[in-house]
């Protein structure tokens, strides 16, 4: 309510002020129309008196000021024309000073002053100097700022700049510079002083009001930058030091922030580059609350863009040692501003890094230096808790990755991992993922074990549990996602040299071993496959010269693999391990290493026996085993027999009859390998098939007993298909009679009353019969073979 009233009151006061101005303006116009100087002075002073109010906020005051400003333009036109009032400008200059109130007096003085300069009856610098001095009389911040802003406005086009009308006869652009600098300094003082008017409660409001006025102050800097005469030398020797002196001495955060930014934005980049030391020297002297990081960041951003704008300027950057200077300055700022939150410091480093990457893309040592400085700042502190700070660190670490598109470059930065050490576990993970993504995106190959070591050191947040974080809290899905990234990463670790590749794998193994049971199921498979790839590559080379010491042999790798897979036992993940063993067995088989292959199978079988308990899992596992075993060609008779025997044994011991049946008929393939030198033992094939047939029968009966109807004939049809397969492959033990018998059996089963029809098995059977029919009609050897079968 109070505030609402305040605003209403302000509107009322503004309205009163405007009315007052309009009232005086009426009489002023009349005086001007009748060329009455005395009256004109009287009413203009009266009009300007409205600006003496203290009750308006800057915003409203501005409105009032603009009204008065318009009227002053008319008055100026009148003053300009001596014929109208008959008073020489020099006398006029005195006459307006008779006004008793200072504010109207000074507005009038400025107005006449501008005409006085224009008349060139006296050197411009004298008038300017007098005006800027006399304006000291107004010490009220808002009124003073507007008055001086008026002075700046009316003098703007009358500065004795180079090649301007007002240069010469003792007036040089330096006078213009002096004038603007002085006005700037005074305005800044007034602006800063606003801060101390009013209670703390109003601070927020004050800050807002001050922000509304800041451009009045900043305008001076803009004018300075527009003065032609201000070349680099003048800027460096006069303008910049004086402006900075003001900025530093005012000890006001709002002003310092705005003005530093203003300097950076208003003057040319080239000047900044050449005066970097001076400019940067001011930063550590600013108040600790000043948002230096933003300002410095903008400076570096500008310089970065400047560097990017044309390659010709790059030598300048080197010549002035821009990087060193910026780096030093940042160091000093951080040192000086003890209270600066860590996020501020890091933001600065991010900007510096961006600058470095733009300007000195070839200087990795600079990048490392920046990171090193950051480490120094972070060291001795607890891990970062501030989320904004960690975000900045992530930015800091991501920037080089983006720039170089190559993690390998980042890996050579010794300080990179040290920075990461200061992140909390969660952020560390985020960063690790960023790194991995960068690698994936750019398809970067990490090719030495050293680099792998560094890399894993960087992403260790993903690889193992960090201290103090409990894994229970982790989101399952996130965890999977993370571990999948690690798994993907492993395929990017590659070297053509087998020895180095082995080293890499050893390194990786060393790291993932520490990952604990939750991670191993994710990390072991890619490592295993990567190793197998290497094995196959070595084998393919054929260049193995016996006797020579070759560090990376398939044997050694298999030993490693054994260890790796064994590690899964702690998880436990028997099914996964089993699959991996089988994969290894296949690879070993390809390398003609019988004992190794045998060992892998043994491991697989042991797992099957001891660990795989679930019947479904058993079915899957046994089929995998059979499939793999079938392809083995390295084994001698004895070993093979042992393994096949085991496999068939397991098959027959499955829990469900249909599973048994299927596993057993699958085992038949173990005895018939369709290769040139493959085993072709028709006898045992038949044995298997017969056995499966028996089991199918038993299954059928069991269904009959339990349900009162016979089950589907699917199993029989499947067995029939196996018969047909081996029949076609030419196994002598598979006779047409046997096939014929099986067909009849199926038909009988299907027709029995108790059987329930099953469309799937019916269709399966029908298409099998169609196939036989087709083969019969095909003629040739196959046709003849099929001929005896009657449908």
């Amino acid at each position: 309510m109070l505030i609402a009233n305040g605003i209403e009151d302000e509107d009322k006061w503004l309205a009163e002020g405007i009315a007052g101005i309009q009232h005086s303006a009426f009489y002023l116009h009349r005086a001007l129309d009748s060329n009455n100087l005395r009256e004109a002075l009287k009413y203009s002073a009266q009009l300007l008196s409205e600006l003496r109010t203290s009750r308006l906020s800057p915003h409203k005051y501005y409105e009032l000021y603009m009204r008065a400003f318009d009227e002053l333009r008319r008055l100026e036109m009148f003053f300009k024309d001596e014929n109208r009032h008959g008073c020489p400008v020099v006398d006029l200059y005195e006459l307006v000073q008779h006004a008793g109130n200072i504010l109207p007096r000074l507005y009038l003085l400025c107005t006449v002053g501008s005409i006085y300069i224009k008349s060139k009856e006296t050197p411009a610098k004298d008038v300017l100097k007098d005006l800027v001095e006399m304006c000291r009389g107004v010490q009220h911040p808002i009124r003073g700022l507007f008055l001086r802003s008026y002075l700046a406005q009316i003098s703007r086009d009358k500065l004795p700049d180079i090649a301007s009308d007002y240069e010469g006869e003792g007036d040089t652009f330096m006078d213009a510079v002096e004038f603007v600098l002085q006005n700037f300094a005074e305005m800044n003082k007034l602006w800063v002083r606003m801060q101390h008017q009013g209670s703390l409660r109003e601070k927020e409001k004050l800050d807002k009001e001050r922000n509304e006025l800041r451009d009045l102050v900043g305008k001076n800097l803009h004018v300075l930058s527009q003065i032609e005469g201000v070349d680099l030398d003048i800027y460096r020797d006069t303008v910049l030091p004086k402006v900075l002196e003001q900025v530093v001495n005012c000890k006001d955060e709002l002003a310092q922030y705005y003005l530093m930014d203003c300097i950076i934005q208003v003057f040319p980049d080239e000047y900044h580059l050449q005066t970097l030391e001076t400019l940067l020297g001011a930063f550590p002297q600013l108040q600790s609350a000043v948002d230096i990081k933003t300002v410095l960041s903008r400076l570096m951003e500008r310089l970065s863009n400047y560097a990017a704008s044309s390659p010709e300027v790059l030598p300048d950057f080197l010549q002035v040692e821009a990087f060193t200077k910026l780096s030093n300055a940042i160091g000093k700022v951080i040192e000086a501003q003890v209270d600066m939150p860590i996020v501020g410091a890091i933001t600065l480093y991010v900007s510096l890094l961006t600058f470095t990457l733009h300007v000195h893309p070839d200087r990795l040592d600079y990048v490392d230096q920046v990171l090193g400085a950051c480490v120094k700042k972070l060291s001795g502190k607890a891990k970062l808790q501030d989320s904004r700070a960690t975000k900045q660190v992530v930015a800091l670490l991501s920037t080089p990755l983006e720039k170089y598109n190559n993690i390998v470059t980042a890996l050579t930065l010794s300080n990179y991992p040290r920075v990461m050490d200061h992140l909390d576990a969660a952020t560390n993970k985020v960063m690790a993922i960023v790194i991995i993504q960068s690698i994936m995106k750019n398809n970067t190959c990490v090719s030495t074990s050293d680099k792998v070591e560094v890399l894993f050191e960087l992403i260790k947040g993903l690889i193992k549990d960090m201290d103090g974080t409990s894994t229970d809290e982790l989101d399952e899905e996130d965890f999977k996602e993370e571990q999948n990234s690690v798994a993907r990463l492993m395929h990017m670790l590659y070297n053509d040299d087998p020895e180095e590749m082995l080293n890499i794998m050893n390194t990786v193994w060393k790291y993932i071993m520490a990952g604990g049971s939750k991670r191993l199921p994710f990390t072991v498979p890619p490592l295993v496959f990567s190793a197998l790839k290497l094995v196959r590559r070595l084998h393919g080379q054929d260049g193995d010269v016996a006797g020579e010491e070759v560090p990376a042999t398939p044997k050694k790798i298999f030993q490693l693999l054994n260890q790796i897979i064994e590690a899964l036992s702690v998880v436990p993940a028997p099914e996964l391990a089993l699959r991996l063993y089988l994969q290894c067995a296949e690879a070993a088989n390809d390398c003609d290493l019988e004992p190794v292959t045998y060992e892998f199978f043994t491991q697989a079988f042991v797992l099957y026996e001891e660990e795989v308990a679930d019947s479904k899992a058993q079915v899957t596992a046994i089929h995998l085993i059979i499939g793999t075993l079938q392809r083995m060609n390295v084994f001698g008779v004895e070993n093979r027999d042992t393994l096949t025997h085991k496999a068939t044994g397991y098959s027959a011991k499955l829990l469900k009859k249909p599973d048994q049946c299927r596993a057993v008929y699958a085992c038949s393939h173990l005895f018939w390998v369709d290769d040139q030198d493959g085993i072709k033992d028709g006898e045992r094939v038949l044995l298997c098939l017969k056995r499966s047939l028996r089991i199918a029968n038993a299954a059928q009966q069991m269904v009959n007993v339990t349900r009162g109807s016979s089950g589907p004939v699917t199993l029989f049809v499947e067995i029939l298909n196996k018969y047909l397969y081996f029949f076609e492959k030419g196994s002598p033990q598979i006779t047409t009679a046997a096939i014929q018998g099986l067909i009849e059996l199926i038909k009988t089963e299907m027709q029995s009353d108790s059987s329930t029809s099953n469309p799937a098995s019916d269709a399966f059977f029908a298409s099998t019969l169609r196939y036989i029919q087709f083969q019969k009609q095909k003629g040739g050897a196959m046709g003849e073979k099929y001929d005896p079968i009657k449908l």
Binding site: H98, G100, L103, G137, Q139, R143, G144
Partner: protein, 301 residues
């Protein structure tokens, strides 16, 4: 009616004219009735000469016991109004007793008249110069005519004219140092100076420079003092901080000032002061008054 008016009408018309009346500078003089009229300006040691013409109302004769003209310098105190003290009195007899039938003109001359004091119109005191023409008529009552004129005396610029510089303050509250470029100013002078704030612990609102005139009349226990603020000139708006220096530039020409008068004929004195007034936000006034000497500089035209 006409008869009655005619009866109270002066029997003759007296006019005074100065021989250099056309070229002599005229200055405004405020009369008792508030009207301002232009009168000739003289200074001390000048010759005052001219003509007095007396013209009887048509057809009448004026009998008289002699005609004279007096040059009077008078001081009138307002508590003793109407009672003039003549500090200067010179007489010239114009005619011996006789009769006047027609217009008659008499030349007169006062040579190198000593007029040490300036014409002054104060609050409690008035100093004037006048030419008084008297036609002495015995029983019928004398016919008297006055002609005012103004005397200004010019002073050469003083050989020594130091600036006024002073540091004043209230302990731990406000310390300022001010400087006026001179201690003696002529009437059309400009006061230049500055105020330097050494310590500001109070919230000032504004600062004015006042010109005050102190007129003291009488002497001893009967001394009567009147102070008048002739100018109030705002020097500063708002609250300065330590280290600020505020310029002063005050043109004296717009104000009606006189020179400083020191003990004029033991009757009165007029002194001038510059009063620096600082006003704080609670409208408390802090001031420092400083006497300045005013003098009249010969105008070089």
């Amino acid at each position: 009616m006409n008869f009655i008016i005619g009866a109270f009408k002066p029997a003759c018309h007296i006019s005074v004219s100065f021989s250099d009346g056309k070229s002599r500078k005229q200055v405004p003089l405020k009369k008792e009735n508030g009207q301002t009229l232009m009168v000739p300006l003289f200074q001390s040691q000048e010759n005052i000469l001219g003509k007095i013409s007396i013209e009887p109302v048509s057809g009448k004769k004026v009998e008289h016991n002699g005609i004279k003209v007096e040059l009077l310098g008078q001081i009138e105190m307002y508590f003793d109004k109407g009672n003039f003290y003549d500090f200067t009195s010179l007489v010239r007899e114009l005619d011996v007793p006789g009769e006047l039938y027609e217009r008659k003109t008499y030349p007169f001359e006062f040579s190198t008249v000593e007029m040490p004091y300036e014409t002054y119109n104060g609050i409690n005191v008035r100093l004037r110069y006048v030419l008084k023409v008297t036609i002495n008529r015995g029983y019928a009552g004398s016919i008297v005519e006055y002609q005012d004129f103004v005397v200004w005396n010019y002073t050469p610029p003083p050989a020594i004219n130091n600036s006024i510089k002073m540091e004043v303050g209230i302990e731990d509250c406000l310390h300022i140092e001010f400087e006026y470029n001179k201690s003696k100013y002529h009437l059309k002078d400009v006061i230049i100076g500055k105020i330097y704030f050494l310590l500001v612990r109070i919230k000032l609102k504004n600062m004015d420079l006042e010109i005050r005139r102190r007129e003291s009349t009488g002497s001893g226990v009967n001394t009567h003092v009147e102070t008048e603020t002739l100018a109030k000139y705002e020097l500063m708006d708002g609250a300065p901080v330590r280290g600020e220096s505020i310029p002063i530039r005050l043109f004296l020409s717009p104000y009606e000032l006189t020179p400083t008068y020191q003990n004029i004929n033991n009757k009165f004195s007029v002194k001038y002061y510059l009063n620096l007034v600082l006003v704080d936000e609670e409208d408390r006034r802090y001031f420092k008054q400083q006497e300045i000497t005013m003098f009249r500089l010969a105008e070089t035209s």
